[in-house]
Subunit: 417 residues, 2 copies
Amino acid sequence: MNAEIIAVGSELLLGQIVNTNARFLSQHLAGVGINVFYHTVVGDNPDRLAAAVSIAENRSQLIIFTGGLGPTKDDLTKETIAKHIGKGLVFDQGALDSIEAYFIKTNRQMTENNRKQALVFEGSVILPNDHGMAPGMVVESGGHIYMLLPGPPKEMEPMFVDYGLKVLSLQVKTNEKIVSRVLRFFGIGEATLETEIVDLIDAQTNPTIAPLASDGEVTLRLTAKHQDVFLANSLLDEVENTIGLRVGQYLYGYDNTSLVNELSKILREKKLTISAAESLTGGMFQQELTALPGASAVLKGGVVCYTNEVKQHVLNVKAETIRQFGVVSEQCAIELAENVATLTGADIGISFTGVAGPDEQEGKPVGTVYIGIALKGSPTVVKEIILAGSREANRTRAVKFGCYYLIRLLKEPQNAM
Amino acid sequence: MNAEIIAVGSELLLGQIVNTNARFLSQHLAGVGINVFYHTVVGDNPDRLAAAVSIAENRSQLIIFTGGLGPTKDDLTKETIAKHIGKGLVFDQGALDSIEAYFIKTNRQMTENNRKQALVFEGSVILPNDHGMAPGMVVESGGHIYMLLPGPPKEMEPMFVDYGLKVLSLQVKTNEKIVSRVLRFFGIGEATLETEIVDLIDAQTNPTIAPLASDGEVTLRLTAKHQDVFLANSLLDEVENTIGLRVGQYLYGYDNTSLVNELSKILREKKLTISAAESLTGGMFQQELTALPGASAVLKGGVVCYTNEVKQHVLNVKAETIRQFGVVSEQCAIELAENVATLTGADIGISFTGVAGPDEQEGKPVGTVYIGIALKGSPTVVKEIILAGSREANRTRAVKFGCYYLIRLLKEPQNAM
């Protein structure tokens, strides 16, 4: 079964809100083996909505609508579709009762237009709204299934998961399940990665392999279809193994993980604590690490050493080092990493110094970054990287490179840097 | 002129990412008087993409595409549209040079498929990509304007604002201009704000008033239409004045500013430097401040004092203070703020200590936060706030409250805290 998601609401077309409903529904539909081929957004305009429905009917079996079920005058999804497919609207007593109960509970006066929310297609399956007033509904007509859901994600999401999916599961004729796995790579460009596995991509049928680049990372989304979820996963394992033999050294994790999350896991496993001296990153490394609950087990803390003054007086970088090499230098990165570890009593000190931009510094071009890593009992290592993005991209990537090098150093110290 | 935005990418249909590009473009198109009537999302499939283009041609004059301009095989927006409208693809030397320069600068090997990104429609206007490799392009054909933009928001957004909008401004035939202004509020809830101005919202026609809440802030988007931009702005001024009389004390800025940006402006104006001692916020305050170019003029640096050890040994919080009051306390916040200012030699020290969650700490509930502000020559002040969000929301809001209190303290010291 193919599906299309139509979001109704002028606020989407004005860019006031983003269409997170389409994303949410797409994720869940994939999980039950329904292919979504199109998302459409249309405003609160009956003619343009009706035209969008006609187009959807020509290309999709299941059409899911979000939005336009509320009490106000511009909410007209139900009325427009009723007219389009020739169904009458009737009051649903259950919905009416629950709307009245809501007003009693919140001690507010119910206005007449709220009753309109209890109107449903005759002969439709009602989807109760446990978090708001307007019920959803599902109706079949002329070989199509129409599902109407409210717009606010807080109402739509639980309604779809608790009631909508069950109705659809009964309708889905296929037994095929879709299983997806995202492989996350760092330190390799999208084009290079693709070149390494171009034969696999060319030959792909099941699983499919889709590369995507974002924020300096590349992901490969593997998607397998099979009646048996276990066998679908075996198909994914197989292609992942083949990919791993070629570019496995850049693979750092799966699905929604991140480099900082993987670093945190390793530090925890090895019972190591860390501290950071951050110049160009301005606290970003520590901020990301402390975004994870329980960060105090791994992060002692550190210093944002944005000025030379703080580098010298708080982190004891030698005046001579700054005079001779500058603060954007290997030598400064070494002292920062070693001294922040000493200052905080951490097992590891990591330092970030460089030129975020927009202006160059000490004659060094924007994007020049030095990352120092001082690991107790090992010689301090420094990595120079040259980045080519905006100020914010350079800072973000510097943090990712720091996590990446440290992960490698902790995993395989002999070939890390 | 009516517009449609077509996002190309199977990752959108699988729900792996959300279509923020459509929102961004819609906001900006409204600003130049272009009505967006539809958003469409279609996968990396040439037949379905071509079908979507045909539909768009029947209903829209301007068609803007995002995504599918990358180097890999599933990137086929350009090729599909070229075939559809009968235009040839040629190499753009400028784009080719900048792709090669990127690889030289980052010291990486350029693979052959990267060259494909420099292909453009013959006779098209090129939109340079200052943050990535694939250029954008605009071409007219058969009464339609086709604009192709890359998918990653970090590339697409600056390309559209810096180059795309200029091309479109020349094409816009309408005399009516839409002018929007976003008023940003902090310290007042959405429902309270709406109650204060409900009569204005009910009576709105031109300008319209649209409230929106997100991340602990509330915004009001005022939108006026007029042939004369100056008069449209006067309409906005008028309604803003009326709103300001009622809730002006919560208004902190306009459009895309942020609390941290407003704080940075005031510090600059007053030539004051700041430093921070961050416990629960883990570096977030400093990270946000250093995201702004030229941050070194205001931020000296500071300490992420995630453990008691660092609070005591780096920031000299008295053992007695911690024993008697705990680290989540007014007393600890005072010492942290004063001592970080002394340590770094800054005019202002700000401290954040509290319980981000998920677990309570020292018997204090999740969401308890103390913010200390030590301003040279004034007694140190502390503000206690109680937040009710997730770990990340509590951290983000703590930073916003810190900026908000400091802004008020610097603007009107007598009634700030």
